[in-house]
Amino acid sequence: MGRFKGIDYYQVEELFSEEEILVRDSVRAFVTDRIMPDIERHFDECTLPLELVPELGRLGLFGANLPEEYGCAGVSNVAYGLIMQELERGDSGIRSFVSVQGGLAMTGIFLFGSDEQKKRWLPAMAEGRKIGCFGLTEPDHGSDPGSMVTRAEKTSAGWLLNGAKMWITNGSLADVSIVWAKVDGRIRGFLVEKGTKGFTPVQQKGKYSLRASDTSELILEDCEIPAKNLLPLSDGLVSPLKCLTAARYGIAWGAIGAAMDCFDRSLAYAKERVQFNRPIGSFQLVQEKLVYMATEITKGQLLAHRLGRLKDEGKMTFTQVSMAKRNNVQIALECARLARDLLGANGITSEYHVIRHMLNLETVKTYEGTHDIHTLILGTDLTGLSSFH
């Protein structure tokens, strides 16, 4: 296969600035040279390519759309989206690492942290010297995080945390975990540092999806943290939801990257693979799959681009993000399944990558609000009638 050039059926490229294109191309080259050669091994062995973390930091990919003042790159939200697209063209697990570090953990500190917390953590996290995670989901509270049972009680020295978080990306790697817990029934955010007594991350095993990513349970048993580790501006469920909006925005772009990779591989395969003395790409049923993929990817690109410009102009709403996350992940998963089919038996092998995308996208469909939860959010918004209660 030749150099990955993406798919651009509607000259979407013309909608990007020169800076955005340079950013995309730099990350694209990095993914091709540094992620692709080893990603199947990491997926197979269930490991995150930790050696890439400092390199990702040097490139400036962590919290890339946060301000320079905190050591971040300060790129546009569209450039940030293109970074996510390129990373997920490599692997959803790598993109998740960067999303959680930037979109969730750094964003949480940036939005709700004190000056001191921001100065201490953001530059180090931007460089990849410190890793963050975001603990919202609990074993018994996923789609409904407002019912969480993890709680924080005031002590003379600080806060005492008790409870458990589950499915936490980067949980075992994190130097700092943003843990959401209730104080007298109201959700607040806390910074729990690695090695704090009473805090135990446990890696979750047996995943068939997002294998090149650490997913862990966080156990908090009489875990006492200093008073200054409260995120002072966090207040209520809306605080973690704001972080989720930032990360979902990146997912809406990232999913397109996975879909583009599936399309690229399908197109190449359809032209090369000969059955019945003809390239399979000449059969109308195969063409229909390619046409579906190209059309849905193009629609997804336009949706993401518009969403990015709205975010840059400060006009984006969280329901618009729900629409893009819901749509783009769904079509990416469809593209991956079609690619898997189109590649025949080769489609189930690691060598051809598409089944890895397909398995990964099952997670992406579920996390950061499941597909159906986004349907409820949009349904509520369109009708003005709550679909939750």
Partner: protein, 262 residues
């Protein structure tokens, strides 16, 4: 230490390039061009020297305005300045005519210590620009450099990788160095670097700015001309041996012996 690096765009093969029936190059749109894959190595070599010795790195390209993007990539990697030599009089030059434009740009930019080029371009494979530059400027040329051992104010010591071995060579400065891939792993442009670079204007110098006689530049000033272009011959002589494994293996062995492969 002032280092000038020369880079150029090349058409991407095989996707972007077609050869027409009349033997001409047909390139499929702007996106089919890349910076020559050797270029990041040349830029990295200069940046490494600057990290150690201080000074500045200037990147120069002669050709179409498309190359501006690649100059910005070099700025984003960390180069200090970039210049594009362009205009109808400069474009379409063969390696000699191009080297004349580059030499004129070097003279225009004043004193310098080191010129860095890739060992050969991915498109024409000529490996001529570096040596001609050296000749035009009357300075030593070190080709196929795989390592820069030492640089000081007026000498450079490098390793040249040749077919039959490695050669350690010392030369006075200023000099031209042509580097091979693998001399250093090139860095990726960082986002901050890209942000700074994309705000920069890349100055464009025409033949008139260079004070060069247009008759010696570009297509008009090229002593060589490409008469025709043909794709490499399709691989031939592939033979599928049919039949049962045992039989097929015997046939294969017979053929290997017959053709004196072993």
């Amino acid at each position: 230490m002032k280092t000038i690096v020369f880079i150029k765009e090349v058409p991407e093969t095989p996707d972007g390039v077609k050869i027409s029936d009349s033997g001409q190059l047909a390139v499929d749109g702007d996106r089919a061009f890349l910076t020559d894959p050797i270029d990041p190595y040349s830029v990295e070599t200069a940046l490494k020297i600057r990290e150690e010795k201080g000074g500045e790195v200037i990147v120069v390209s002669a050709g179409s305005t498309r190359a501006e993007k690649f100059l910005k990539e070099a700025l984003a990697m960390g180069a200090d300045e970039a210049v594009l030599l362009s205009g109808a009089e400069i474009e379409g030059g063969d390696p000699t005519a191009t080297a004349r434009a580059l030499a004129a740009a070097v003279r225009k930019s004043g004193d310098f210590d080191l010129l860095v080029v890739g060992d050969r371009a991915a498109d024409d494979n000529s490996a001529v620009v570096g040596p001609v530059l050296g000749q035009l400027l009357d300075i030593p040329v070190l080709t196929y450099v795989s390592e820069v051992r030492e640089v000081d104010a007026d000498t450079i010591r490098v390793v040249r990788t040749l077919e039959k071995g490695r050669e350690v060579v010392e030369s006075s400065l200023p000099a031209v160095v042509s580097v091979v891939k693998g001399i250093h792993e090139p860095r990726y442009p960082s986002l901050l670097g890209i942000r700074k670079a994309s705000k920069r204007e890349v100055p464009k110098w025409t033949a008139a700015d260079l004070g060069e006689d247009p008759a010696r530049l570009g297509a008009a000033g090229s002593p060589t001309r490409m008469r025709s272009l043909a794709p490499p011959p399709a691989p031939s002589g592939v033979e599928m041996i049919e039949g049962e494994v045992e039989e097929a293996a015997k046939t294969l062995v017979a053929k290997i012996i017959d053709r004196k492969v072993l």
